[in-house]
Every structure is written in structure tokens, then in C-alpha cells.
């Protein structure tokens, strides 16, 4: 099984990194990197001056933490777009482009096929975001001369887990449809409309922080610097980094989404008819 997994993985990875989608997401990442790098260089030491007076408590936070928070805030949204490009059409495109007739008649288990393609999509997403991470490292090192290793590593670790989770969820949506457009729309609508509205509604109506929603959990990527959850209208935020409890909770949510989504995807694809 493992040798077939690697054959499938490299085959799909090749198709991903040569694709137009890969270069589009790379350009988006480079643009985001340029904008935040500019902000880092241009406003280093003056970032507190940009904070509105209502958020004056933020001025107590170090300049570097605020900048790192901003870098991480943008970084946490990049996997959502990448997964729409790479993972949302992963299975639906096999049906729509009729490549399923070729790939599903190869002597390899469908589970191995899906797993190989999934890891290829995750790799392509990580590679495309790597540009942003390198730009962050260079900018912070250039402006502040050092970077706090622990929160930075923790943020990256959470980012990787989030990529696994959002990609798995996109694969699940992709397995439900035979048309790419439906898979794209479902991923976007679920993440940006259903998750966000449920998160806000639960908080405003019941003061309940829906930690189990993927968009909420993804905020841990920036909350390891300052514990402000941008998906909620919270007034009593903490200027300290998120505690280890929050990190474990979010990590568990990512792992849960990954495992459940992949298992459901395997089941659906195993029974999928190629029409």
C-alpha cells in the first residue's frame, strides 16, 4: 500500500505544481507578502500610532507582537483559498473532466488514490504558503533583528494542522459532487457564511464561543501572539498569547475535522459511480 501511495502522491503533486492554479495562488501569496512586508518596514516602531483610540489597550502590546499577529492573521486565511483551488475540485474534477475512467480502472485501491491526492494537495498548499512564511521571517528579522521562536513555531504548527483540516473538508465536499463549481461554492459558503454566521450567532445569542467551528479554531494561528479572536465581537480579549489549553483545543478540532472528513470521503468515493 505504501509504495502505491507514494506513486499516486508524486503523480498528483506533479499535476498540481505544474497547474495554472498553483501559480495563481503563488501570485496571491506573493502579493500578500509584499503588502505585509511593506507595512512591517514602513510602520516599524509606529504601529501603535495606527491603532484607533477605542483599541488603545492594544498599545500595551509590543510592536513586534502586533506585527506578528497581523502576519499570522493574513496567513490563516491563505489555506482557505489554496484549498479551494487544490482540494475542492479534487474528486469532482475526476468526474467532470472524465479522468475517473482512467484512474479508477488502475489497479490501486480508491482509498490509496484519495489519500495520495490529499497529501499532494496539502503539500501544494504548504509550498504556496511557504513564500509568505519566508517573507515574514526576512521582514521580522530585518526590522527587529530577532524572532521569538516558540510562538512562531506554534503558529506554523497550527497552520499546518489547519491546512490538513480545511483540505480534508474540501475533499469531502468534492466527493459529494460531480461538478467542480458545486464543490467550490459549497466549500466557500460553508466556511465563509455558515461557519461565520453560526459562530457569531452562538456568541451573540448565548455568549457561547463555538470553538468547534473550523474558522473559530483557525484563529489560534494568530492568537498564539495576542489572544484576540477576530471572528467574534469580543470586548474582553486578552493581550497575552493564547494559553496551551487553547492551542490543544484548536489542534484537537483540526485533527477531528481531518479524520472525520477523510473517513467520510473514503466511504463516499468507494461507492461512487463513474457515469
Amino acid at each position: 500500500m505504501s509504495s502505491n501511495f507514494f506513486k499516486v502522491y508524486f503523480h498528483y503533486l506533479k499535476n498540481y505544481y505544474r497547474s495554472r492554479s498553483f501559480y495563481i495562488i503563488l501570485i496571491i501569496t506573493i502579493l500578500a507578502s509584499i503588502i505585509i512586508s511593506y507595512l512591517t518596514f514602513r510602520y516599524s516602531g509606529k504601529i501603535n500610532n495606527l491603532i484607533p483610540s477605542k483599541l488603545s489597550s492594544l498599545s500595551k502590546v509590543s510592536d513586534e507582537s502586533l506585527i506578528l499577529y497581523l502576519w499570522a492573521y493574513i496567513m490563516s486565511s491563505l489555506p482557505v483559498f489554496s484549498s479551494v483551488f487544490f482540494s475542492s475540485p479534487a474528486i469532482s474534477s475526476e468526474m467532470e473532466n472524465r479522468t475517473a475512467f482512467y484512474i479508477f480502472t488502475q489497479p490501486v485501491d480508491r482509498t490509496v488514490l484519495i489519500l495520495g491526492k490529499y497529501f499532494a494537495a496539502v503539500t501544494a498548499t504548504i509550498i504556496s504558503i511557504l513564500v509568505y512564511i519566508i517573507a515574514e521571517l526576512i521582514s521580522i528579522e530585518a526590522v527587529y533583528g530577532f524572532i521569538e521562536v516558540n510562538p512562531f513555531i506554534l503558529s506554523l504548527l497550527m497552520l499546518v494542522l489547519f491546512i490538513f483540516a480545511i483540505s480534508a473538508l474540501s475533499f469531502l465536499f468534492s466527493s459529494l459532487f460531480d461538478k467542480n463549481m458545486y464543490a467550490y461554492i459549497s466549500t466557500f459558503v460553508t466556511y465563509f457564511i455558515i461557519f461565520y454566521s453560526a459562530n457569531i450567532a452562538l456568541y451573540l445569542l448565548y455568549s457561547y464561543n463555538a470553538f468547534f467551528l473550523l474558522n473559530n479554531a483557525s484563529t489560534i494561528i494568530e492568537r498564539v501572539y495576542i489572544n484576540i479572536n477576530p471572528t467574534l465581537f469580543v470586548s474582553n480579549f486578552s493581550l497575552n498569547p493564547a494559553g496551551i489549553h487553547d492551542v490543544i483545543l484548536s489542534g484537537t478540532v483540526f485533527i477531528f475535522y481531518t479524520i472525520v472528513s477523510l473517513l467520510l470521503t473514503f466511504l463516499i468515493v468507494e461507492k461512487k459511480e463513474v457515469k
Binding site: N15, R98, F101, Y102, T105, P107, R110, E273, V274
Partner: protein, 294 residues
Amino acid sequence: MNVRLKSVEKYYGKFRALGAINLEINDPGIITILGPNGAGKTTMLKVMTGLSKPRKGIVEIDGNNIFEDRKKVLMKMGTLVEQPEFYTYIKGREILSFSASLKGISGEEMKAEIERVVAATGSNDFLDKKVGKYSRGMKQRLGIATALIGDPEILILDEPTFGIDPMGSLEIRELIKNLNSRKEKIIIFTTHVIEEAIKLSDRIIILNNGLIEYDASNGGEYTLLKISGEIGDIPPGYKYTRISENEYIFEVREEEIPEFNRKITKAGNIKYIEKSSMVEETIRKISVKNLKNS
């Protein structure tokens, strides 16, 4: 090596694509599935290759249920179902390497195997280009090449000459003929070209509305001989239909016609013999029936 379909039924919603099909293929050779559009030809191949699961029935390849031992079965099979499509950013040669590696072929053996299928399908000129730049015919050739990888015991080809120019079609037909020269493989292919089927096949199966209308079992195609005259004793061992007092239609194997002629001339005063292909006759009947029903 055999292919067995037992009471296989397939529906798409309420539409019956295959209705209680029973089919056994035990001997190597070329088996052609003929039929009009929508007859169920491609559905039958999809069911045989595990792409589509029937509502009822069993599909066994070499005693293995395709839906339970899919990988094991596909290891022995080369398939080309529908018009083949491949990943746009992958080169033809990489697709062949991938297919070969999944069949356990590697290193020098893989190189030789790719060269063999490339030479057989005439796909050398475009193999190092990405598939996104291929024409319909190029994709078809690449599809046949992938099916041939690993020299499978069972080949399933869905309209293999589709989209290929007349010269190319001729080459593909020759290729199928050559593959059958040693009678070691079961080659199942679909077509709607009657001449192609008659020229190539060891056995022809005609499908219509999801049912087998005609199955010329192994041993050659039947010819219909219309006899007019007074026949005393009908020679035994021949299937016939009496269409009027002095008119009969006999079903005779092509190679037995001289012997039949000798016997029938002895048996009576024969005025007229009209010869037609059983396949052509069945297709003609199906066309008339479908036209009436439409």
C-alpha cells in the same frame, strides 16, 4: 481466464441500462459488443471494469468479484472506457510510467514495456508533450497504450477507433488483430461499425435496450440462407425457420456452407438461395423495431 456476468441489472434512475444480462466468456479471442447508441454497450463495460455497480447480479473476472477484489482484477485487465481523458499537466510518457508502476513494472523493464506499447499504438511523436496539448486522436492512442501496459490477459476497449483518422483506425484494427494472433487474451471491444465487428471478431454480441439480442457463441458467425423450393427431408443439425410453404431460413456457420449446400441440393429441388449475415440481419431488425417504437 474468464468473464462472467450473472443476471446483471443496471438502472440509471428509472432508465434500464442493462436488464438481467447473462454472459459467459470462457475462451480467448475477440468478442465484439455491437449495438445502436444507448443499447447498453458502454454500461456493460463499466460494470465489467467496476466503474459502475449493478443493482442486481454478479460480475466475476477469473472467479473474482470485481467489486470485492477490484485491485486484483484490474491487475489482469487493460481498459479503455469512454473517450479517454488524462491529467492536463502530465506528459503522455509519465502517464504510461505511472500505469506501469501500478502494475508492478519498474526500471529497465518499464522502459522496454513503454517502448513496446508506444510502438504498437504509434504514439511516439507526442509522448513527451503534456496531455493538455493532445488532440482527440492522440488521447485515444494514449488510452489504448495505457490499456496495453503490462500485457494484460483481458483487454476491454470501448470504441477504440473513435476519433482516429481512417489510416489510424486501420492501424488500430490491425493492432487488435495482432493482439489476438496467439489467441491468449480475451479482447472485448464495443463498436457500432458492423463491418469492423465482422472482420475482427471471434464472437459477436448484439445489445439492444439493455438486453442481448444476439450472441454468436464461439466458433464463428452464423450466416442466414434463404431457401426457396421443395425440400424433401430437411438435413439434420441445422436451425431453421419456415417462413412460408416453400420458403425456409437456415442458420449456418460460414465454414459449413459448402457442406450445407451439398446436403440441401440433394434433399430437394432448390430454386433460389439468398445469403445474408446474421449480424446484419439482427441489426436491421433492431433498427426497424427501434424506429417503430420511437
